[in-house]
């Protein structure tokens, strides 16, 4: 398992999203991945928003792993993953988050929590080319 360089937990409330961005943003700069900052802050916000809106979790955990020239950020919860429509209707209001998240990172993966085994983890990776 990769070394956890930095990790924090937050309550599943929309009002902490800005605080999560400040924390992740300072870690991104500390690891000299500044050019990825905007994309990663967007992706992390989307992942956390999904956990807040859909999972029923008691907390959200954000962890940052520098791996060589790549930076991986994981967002995990203790909830159940609600299937989202992968291709949003253009004029629809919902489910755009996954689409945006996947568009701005180099690698995106999702381990889905189920009712019998709760706990969803989203992994977001950006690499220096």
């Amino acid at each position: 398992m990769a070394d956890v360089r930095s990790a924090r937990s937050f309550p599943p409330e929309a009002r902490v999203l800005s605080e999560i961005r400040r924390y992740v943003g300072s870690e991104i700069e500390r690891h000299s991945f500044r050019s990825f900052k905007d994309d990663l802050l967007l992706a992390v916000t989307e992942a956390c928003s999904n956990a807040i809106r859909h999972s029923g979790t008691q907390e959200i955990r954000v962890a940052i792993f520098p791996v060589g020239s790549c930076l991986e950020i994981t967002v995990s919860d203790d909830g159940v993953y609600r299937p989202l429509v992968p291709a949003p209707e253009l004029d629809g209001e919902g489910h755009r988050g996954i689409h945006l998240m996947a568009a701005v990172v180099d690698d995106f993966s999702l381990h889905q929590g189920t009712p019998s085994r709760p706990g969803t983890t989203v992994s977001l990776v950006k690499c220096k080319s």
Partner: protein, 151 residues
């Protein structure tokens, strides 16, 4: 006018009680093996997402701050007075420092409610906000997007 009669009692009530650590949530129940490596990051005194809407002209508003799930309702409420009337709506985005899919939802909702009565014009988005508008395909919905340099 309605100040409390006992000022000392009033002042006493204003003293904040420090409460920096959240203690609910039992980590022993979690399936995540990393859970115990985490430190509590949340300070309960941190305010909600910093965001507000300024109405700069009759049909123009400016979004200021960060637009996410924590400020979605503020943005919706800020557009409501303009949606009550007819005509194009212009949203200045130059002071919007962050926007995610919640912001896209706000704008798509505004465009749809304005349908047949006017167009939605977005102006001055920073490069990353402009990138999100493009990925979300707002131009394809008939939203006009202009840079901030000159009308």
């Amino acid at each position: 006018m309605n100040a409390p009669r006992d000022d000392r009692l009033h002042l006493t009530r204003q003293i904040p009680i420090p409460k920096m650590v959240q203690t609910n949530g039992d980590r022993s129940q979690t399936s995540d093996p990393l859970a115990n490596a985490f430190t509590r990051g949340h300070n309960p005194h941190v305010p909600a997402t910093p965001f507000h809407v300024e109405r700069t002209e009759d049909r123009t508003v400016r979004f200021v701050g960060e637009l996410d799930l924590g400020s979605f309702e503020i943005a919706v409420a800020g557009l409501e007075p303009l949606l009550a009337g007819d005509g194009d709506i212009e949203v200045e985005l130059a002071d919007l420092t962050f926007m995610d899919s919640s912001g896209i939802r706000v704008l798509v909702k505004c465009r749809r409610e304005l349908e047949g009565r006017g167009r939605l014009l977005l102006r001055g988005a920073n490069p990353h906000v402009a990138k999100i508008l493009e990925i979300a395909g707002l131009q394809d919905l008939g939203v006009r997007i202009e840079d901030g340099s000159d009308g």
